[in-house]
């Protein structure tokens, strides 16, 4: 089947088998391997990407369902050589160890901060409860998301920066 998908701002036209999962379309057709596969029960969230700005587990979406839609993956977060505040915060707060959950975790957090710019610890924990990390024990992930939230909120106050820092599904 022919599909036309915008991924990280670029338009792709591809021919896919109807049963192709979005995660394999991204990983194997487009060679965007940031989204990972960690389970077969839609439990782990390692595959999370944004579909029209909403966090989805791309192992549970068919590539054909993304036809005509906009996708943002972890590879699309960096702008003009500048890391996204979430990427920086994950680095600074030591919110990753093996790194396998990181792209999915960051994309989930991305949507969370859109909805709730300054979440409490409890709200962050709830917000990322669809993403499993086997390494970090979550404490630093929570810290990183809260710290990125503060940075993003401060940037939003500054109108000059606004377009730079708000990630969306463009």
């Amino acid at each position: 089947m022919q599909i036309r998908v915008t991924v990280n701002g670029r338009v792709y036209e591809s021919d896919v088998e109807p049963r192709t999962l979005l995660v394999y379309y991204l990983r194997e057709h487009l060679r965007l391997t940031g989204a990972h596969v960690g389970c077969d029960t839609t439990t782990c969230g390692a595959c999370t990407v944004l579909l029209n700005g909403k966090a989805v587990k791309s192992c549970t979406v068919l590539a054909v369902q993304a036809n005509g839609q906009e996708i943002l993956t972890v590879e699309g977060l960096e702008r003009d050589g500048e890391l996204h505040p979430l990427q920086k915060a994950f680095w600074e707060e030591h919110a990753l160890q093996c790194g396998y959950c990181t792209p999915g975790m960051i994309m989930t957090a991305c949507e969370l901060l859109e909805r709730n710019p300054l979440p409490t610890e409890e709200e962050v924990r709830k917000g990322i409860s669809g993403n499993v990390c086997r390494c970090t024990g979550y404490v630093n992930i929570v810290k990183a998301i809260q710290s990125a939230g503060r940075v993003l909120a401060a940037q939003k106050m500054d109108p000059h920066n606004q377009s730079e820092v708000v990630p969306s599904g463009n």
């Binding site: 030591h94 792209p103 990390c133 979550y138």
Partner: protein
């Protein structure tokens, strides 16, 4: 952009990780990210039965699927003498079933096709006819004389694998005979699975032209895997190139060699094309290395004042269908005899019997040093049972029995020489920091009001860093480790080690060690691991061995470089070598701090301006054989509240005070502790792999095998004391596993403490809410 990596003297500092920039961009390179030209995909056909004879395998329909290239069965492998392979534990295991299957999900055939989907489609069309055989699930049933013998390939016609013991049976019995107080507790450490987020997988790429096999694999021990492969397959070792790319967590799961690996290699050898095999989560849990599954009984003999005298332990170890435990070869029960823990027992006797059952093989060291978690859990649990019997506060009982600081190096009754420790100091810090006395008061008040609150303690000792070559080997290969350092003319360094990190941060911490020794910054040092063609030989990363072994090698290798550098420095400073001193950042003329040369200047001279007759270059290799293991310890305290209506346990506070000797990077140590605590929590409250009586695995996926999310996992508080290891080159001990080793007992002790008023002495893990609820219901606390 680099954060904080450009400082001299980086040792002990929270340097931000050098590996992170690629991971936060989605640029990690895990095995499934690798795509090779003409690559094929493999899928495995697995048994639905736990024990059955294979009557026939029909591959005709599967071969009709477009794109199918090859289907391998056990009989095909038998012709190549590869149907069985040796395990690290000295047993053999089937690669693909020959004659019969011995556990559910066992590998029966491998299908190779042009696409992932075609391989899976075809695997479903392989027709296997089975004849069910009687299943043995319970290890206590397995050792009965009339139990069906599962392994008819063995000479010994019983399910008993081995008997192992440590300590002095007679002297221990003598103390028990006259002991004023004896307690006894049966404790089960359930079957769990490490389940790293990235499942196992590989790509085998055999090049017929060069005769070289390149094998990309999610491996914690690439060199060991290369050697095993050479021994098993007959391929010459120098023509096997193992690359362990970024590894998405290991926790012991990625130490063994799995059947899927052998099949992918055989397929690539036959087809001359790369073959990729990536297992699913279900395959990961149901067939690759499980952990624990120990049925233990501990007895403590003590006097009336709570002074412990002797310990007796008897254990039945369920190994599944093959003994594929990943232990040093001379230690079938790993380092389980560390079970006397932090306490000064006069005598101890420990015995373990291994048995076969119709379950998947394994026995890996899941975020622990070989069976140390089982040992720590058992002694810490049983100490609480003793405290209850004596009506003593469990904190007082521990303080009364700790090995004293002055007793180190301490000779344990089971034969270990503990290197160093100060248990009292660590524990007292924990008690004070958590406010133990106030918590006990609060608990008394709550009890009076009928509320359920518990406080649980675990003051454990670990034994890690296997190990000294006099005792430790895997299939004969000594368990030293290695480092190679090359200083380039501009003073930049590439360092390669025999270990393989999976999230522990070696690219940063080993750079810190080397930079500290050489007067450089971590930014100047690139650490590479996991490529057997470039890295020196070593046995890999597990059992908290990297810092004790390869960390020592890195420091000593750097010192070897510094020795040569000193000679060059003398030449540059135009003084005799005896007049040169190292000031931590540069070489200076003794007594003249302003006359100095940096390592960068020396490095350039090593290639451009050498003393007469000196060999050019500035490189070294060091193989470090540690003189002893290291013995990290910790004091953990859990505070829990129990909901009377549902039996749900809420961990209100958890404090972990660890002592892992000198610390290379406090941020990374803290991160390791957080992660291990969450896994310990998971084991105490969530993770379990049960089987029904037909041997069906009841938790083969993450819907049924519960791994904790951020909502489940408590907030962790941490602190540290520092008792350096006297024999380690930088005084470090290793930390990655302490929290997983030490925490389960703290959780369980807290829950039992909360339920003590109802006469509860023990609850087996995992403590699901229904277990607590049933206790409460029986005690009339809830309906």
């Amino acid at each position: 952009m680099a954060i904080n990596q450009c400082e001299l003297r980086p040792m002990g500092k929270s340097i931000h990780r050098k590996e992170d920039p690629r991971f936060i961009r989605g640029q990690g390179r895990y095995v499934d990210d690798i795509v090779l030209p003409n690559m094929l995909h493999m899928s495995i056909v697995r048994s639905p039965y736990a024990h059955a004879r294979i009557k026939s395998i029909n591959t005709d329909a599967a071969y009709q699927v477009p794109g199918v290239k090859l289907i391998i069965t056990g009989e095909d492998l038998a012709k190549l003498k590869l149907a069985w392979i040796p395990t690290m534990a000295g047993d053999v295991q089937m690669v693909l079933a020959v004659g019969k299957v011995l556990y559910q999900y066992q590998e029966v055939a491998a299908v190779v096709a042009e696409t992932r989907a075609a391989a899976v489609d075809a695997a479903q069309l392989v027709e296997v006819e089975y004849e069910a055989l009687p299943v043995v699930v319970d290890p206590f049933r397995a050792i009965q004389p009339d139990a069906p013998v599962l392994r008819d390939d063995r000479e010994k016609k019983s399910n008993h694998i081995w008997h192992w013991e440590a300590g002095d049976r007679e002297k221990t019995e003598e103390i028990f005979k006259d002991a004023p107080v004896v307690v006894s507790q049966d404790v089960r450490f359930q079957r769990v699975h490490p389940s790293p987020l990235e499942p196992c997988g590989c790509i085998a790429d055999y090049n017929k032209g060069t005769g070289k096999l390149t094998w990309y694999v999610t491996s914690q021990a690439p060199h060991a895997h290369r050697t095993v492969l050479a021994m098993v397959s007959g391929l010459p070792e120098h023509k096997i190139h193992v690359i362990s790319p970024d590894v998405g967590g290991g926790f012991g799961n990625k130490v063994p060699v799995y059947p899927g690996y052998v099949c992918a290699i055989v397929a690539s050898l036959q087809l001359g094309q790369p073959v990729k095999w990536i297992e699913t989560r279900t395959e990961n849990i149901a067939s690759t290395g499980f952990a624990r599954d120990y049925h233990m009984k501990a007895e403590i003999a003590a006097d009336e004042n709570g002074k412990v005298l002797a310990l007796r332990v008897k254990t039945l170890a369920d190994h599944g269908a093959f003994d594929a435990a990943a232990d040093p070869t001379k230690f079938p029960a790993g380092l389980f005899s560390i079970v006397t823990g932090s306490y000064d027992f006069q005598q101890a006797f420990v015995e373990v019997d291994g048995v076969y059952t119709n379950k998947a093989p394994g026995g890996v060291a899941y975020r622990c040093s070989f069976r140390v978690t089982e040992a720590a859990y058992l002694i810490e649990r049983t100490m609480d049972v003793l405290a209850r019997k004596l009506n003593m506060d469990p904190a007082d009982l521990r303080l009364r029995n700790f090995i004293k600081k002055e007793q180190f190096p301490y000779q344990s009754p089971t034969g270990w020489t503990y290197d160093s420790g100060d248990y009292e100091q660590t524990f007292k810090l924990a008690l004070e920091k958590i406010g133990y006395q106030e918590l006990r008061k609060e608990q008394a008040e709550k009890r009076a009001r009928g509320e359920l609150m518990g406080i649980g303690i675990s003051t454990f000792t670990e034994v890690v860093g296997a190990g000294p070559s006099h005792s430790f080997d895997i299939m004969g290969i000594k368990m030293f480790d290695s480092a190679e350092i090359r200083v380039h003319p501009t003073g930049k360094v590439i360092a390669r080690l025999g270990v393989r990190h999976q999230g522990q941060g070696h690219e940063t911490t080993f750079a810190q060690i080397i930079a500290e020794e050489l007067g450089l910054t971590t930014d100047d040092v690139l650490v590479e691991e996991g490529d057997t063609d470039t890295a020196p030989y070593g046995l890999g990363t597990y059992a908290s061995r990297s810092t004790p072994t390869a960390g020592g090698a890195a420091a000593l290798c750097a010192r070897r470089i510094r020795e040569k550098a000193k000679k060059i420095a003398a030449h540059l400073l135009e003084v005799g070598e005896e007049d040169v001193a190292w000031n931590g950042e540069a070489f200076q003329v003794k007594g003249l701090p302003s006359r100095k040369v940096t390592m960068g200047e020396v490095a350039l001279a090593a290639y451009t301006n050498l003393p007469e007759g000196m060999e050019p270059g500035l490189e070294a290799t060091y193989y470090y054989d540690p003189p002893n293991l290291t013995f990290p310890h910790g004091a953990y305290i859990a505070v829990v509240d129990i909901d009377k209506g549902t039996g749900a346990v809420k961990v209100r506070r958890f404090l972990a005070v660890d002592d892992c000797g000198n610390v290379i990077n406090p941020m990374i140590v803290e991160g390791q502790v957080h992660g291990g605590l969450t896994e310990g929590f998971a084991i105490a409250f969530m993770q379990d792999i049960p089987f029904d009586e037909d041997g069906n695995c009841l938790a083969p996926n993450w819907m049924d095998y519960l791994v904790p999310t951020a909502l489940d996992s408590p907030h962790w508080e941490t602190d540290r004391t520092v008792t350096p290891s006297p024999h380690h080159p930088i005084g470090a001990k290793g930390v990655g596993e302490s929290p997983n080793v030490g925490s389960p007992a703290a959780f369980v002790n807290a829950v039992v403490d909360a339920l003590a008023p109802f006469g509860v002495e023990h609850i087996d893990m995992p403590i699901f809410p229904w277990k607590v609820w049933e206790i409460l219901r029986k005690s009339g606390v809830t309906e």
